[in-house]
């Protein structure tokens, strides 16, 4: 089969996307160029309103930062877990996979309740620290960015680990043994052999985690509270509370473009590292 034919494999998805995704998206872009919430007066007023307000930039920056922090936290604890998985015997691996996908089996509705229980003023963490005498006043964890990042880490973990593990488990175990036999320390093997070879999975995981944490409206508002303001909250308020759809469209486009920019940068890095691995 020649190259042209291989490329044609994307056609079914491309057609489905054109019909079900691109068309509504273009409508959204169209709606953003109306000045009034009744969608009758064409104009740029909503764009001017959003981009003319310094508060908007703060919210965009906070949203992207939240994504970055969540990605970092997820890598920090998730990658070691993937390494443990890699070294585990097959039976334990099955148990670990089950544990790793567990967050997905909790609906977002109860998951937020669970985090209120863990992070709350009278919550599990505070009770524990108080009874150990480490703190004398309950810490404020719920409705802080720290608490939000911790809770997002839980739900994003499967998104990071499943691609990572599906890539890592195909790595040739001989590579690590060879590295060890050559006298490399385990740290050195990790950073010179395992991490570069697992790059495609890591990048895929980062993409999914970043995109999903920046748009996680329910976690952001319930666990983060309304003191922390991210773009999805603005979109929700504008489209469902005040029904200013043109403005909601402008904010959505801002979110879409900011996240896609970060995602393409990550993608590009992934491609380069992929080239490095095969090169």
């Amino acid at each position: 089969m020649n190259k042209l034919a291989e490329w044609q494999l994307t056609l079914p998805l491309a057609l489905a996307f054109a019909a079900i995704f691109l068309a509504p998206l273009l409508m959204l872009v169209g709606v953003s160029f109306f000045s009034d919430d009744k969608i009758t007066q064409p104009g740029f007023a909503q764009w001017v309103k959003f981009y003319g307000d310094p508060f908007s930039y703060k919210v965009i920056a906070d949203t992207m930062l939240l994504g970055v922090k969540t990605v970092c936290a997820t890598i920090l604890v998730g990658y070691p877990l993937a390494l443990v998985y890699l070294d585990a015997p097959p039976r334990l691996q099955k148990v670990l996979i089950f544990v790793i996908v567990m967050p997905l089996l909790l609906s977002v509705v109860v998951r937020t309740f669970a985090w209120i229980v863990v992070l709350g003023r009278e919550g599990v963490v505070n009770q524990l620290l108080l009874s150990l005498g480490i703190i004398s006043e309950p810490l404020r964890l719920l409705q802080t960015e720290l608490g939000l990042v911790i809770s997002l880490t839980q739900i994003e973990m499967p998104l990071m680990l499943l691609p990572l593990i599906s890539v890592m488990s195909r790595l040739d175990p001989n590579l690590r043994d060879a590295s060890a036999a050559l006298g490399a320390s385990r740290w050195r093997t990790l950073f010179t052999v395992i991490v570069p070879l697992s790059m495609p999975g890591l990048v895929a995981g980062c993409l999914l985690v970043f995109a999903s944490s920046t748009t996680a409206f329910i976690s952001q508002t319930v666990i983060g509270g309304v003191r922390l303001i991210y773009l999805p909250l603005l979109i929700w308020q504008q489209s469902l509370v005040v029904f200013n759809w043109p403005f909601a469209a402008v904010v959505s486009i801002a979110l879409l473009i900011s996240v896609l920019t970060v995602v393409s940068a990550l993608s590009w890095l992934g491609r380069r590292s992929g080239g490095y691995v095969h090169g």
Binding site: V117, G120, R121, E122, L142, G225, V226, F243
Partner: protein, 339 residues
């Protein structure tokens, strides 16, 4: 392991169940939006059988919050996904201004003589009242007396607040503003005072999270609907309702016919059933705890009023003035409360 055969076999097996439409066989049908949770439970268990019995009309309920109903009908221009709305005053005004309702013909409501004056207008019918005040945990806090107490110790450090996105949040913030010299159209004083005590406030929450936050002790006092308090209390949550000294706020929940509704006639039958005495008698009881509008319904002692005429002594707001300002208030709230 993924070959075409197994995929196709799976697809056909699944497809068999889904693509056959399942139509109801009653004389008529009406599709009504209802609030998720307690409203839906009550309407399914009380109103649906009553409607079936009286008119042989099947009630299909679609659980949607008021704002979601408006959004859906707006997006589906002219082809509404349901026949009847149930709305709070704010979204009601939005609906009227957006031309989302059919004109309402009060003569089609046989129970109209049993309703207090003004319950039916050209756009719809009031089906219930809601009272807003303060809910607090009596095991942890002394009883507050008014809105100002919320912003002072010991209450403020246990306070949970919500913004202008809900009806009860909006009216409560207006009342707090009034306590500090503001008015129905000027909520600035409330935001100024809240900002002063912001570091002490226990939670600035999403309204959907408030029951959980109260239950787990993250906050122990908030402004809320009396019905929410009654339901949580009946579920064993430590919470009591307090009518503020300056008066509790009341607002009416209204029903409307969606523009272009397929089953407008059955919608009238549905409304008539909702405001009937029999349905009111059932809805006023626990676990539903509704405040019905039919004057023949005897109100239980748990409600802060003995008859519906007292509703006129409650504070009510003019939502046609509030609605145009609300978008600005929401943005202001975001900026003032943001860190």
């Amino acid at each position: 392991m993924f070959n075409r055969r197994s995929l196709l076999a799976g697809a056909t097996a699944l497809g068999g169940t889904s693509l056959l439409p399942s139509l109801a066989h009653a004389k008529g049908i009406v599709t009504a939006a209802t609030y998720p949770g307690s409203w839906e439970d009550a309407y399914r268990s009380v109103v649906a059988p009553a409607l079936k019995k009286a008119y042989d009309v099947d009630l299909e309920l679609q659980p949607l919050f008021a704002v979601d109903q408006i959004a859906k009908v707006r997006a589906a221009r002219g082809a509404p996904p349901f026949d009847a709305f149930v709305l709070d005053p704010g979204p009601r005004i939005t609906g009227i201004e957006g031309g989302l309702f059919e004109k309402f013909d009060g003569r089609k409501i046989s129970n109209a003589p049993n309703l207090p004056a003004g319950m039916i207008d050209e756009w719809g019918i009031c089906v219930g009242a809601q009272v807003v005040g303060i809910g607090y945990n009596p095991k942890k806090l002394p009883k507050p007396t008014g809105w100002k107490d919320l912003l002072s110790d010991p209450w403020v450090s246990r306070l949970g607040i919500t913004g202008f996105q809900t009806t009860f949040g909006t009216v409560s913030l207006i009342e707090i503003a009034k306590a500090f010299g503001g008015s129905e159209t000027n909520v600035e004083p409330a935001l100024v005072e809240l900002k002063k005590v912001l570091p002490k406030i226990a939670a600035v929450g999403n309204p959907a999270a408030m029951p959980g936050l109260l239950q787990q002790g993250q906050c122990d006092i908030t402004y809320t609907n009396i019905q929410t308090v009654a339901i949580l209390k009946s579920r064993g949550v430590d919470i009591e309702f307090v009518k503020p000294a300056s008066g509790a706020v009341a607002f009416f929940t209204t029903m409307h016919i969606a523009k272009g509704a397929a089953e407008a006639d059955n919608a009238y039958k549905y409304f008539d059933t909702v405001v009937s005495k029999a349905v009111g008698d059932a809805l006023v009881q626990p676990p539903h705890n509704f405040i019905p509008v039919n004057k023949q319904v005897v109100l239980p002692p748990s409600l802060p009023m003995t008859n519906l005429d007292e509703m006129s002594t409650y504070i009510q707001h003019d939502w046609s003035k509030i609605n145009p300002l609300r978008a600005g208030w929401i943005e202001k709230f975001n900026k003032e409360m943001a860190k």
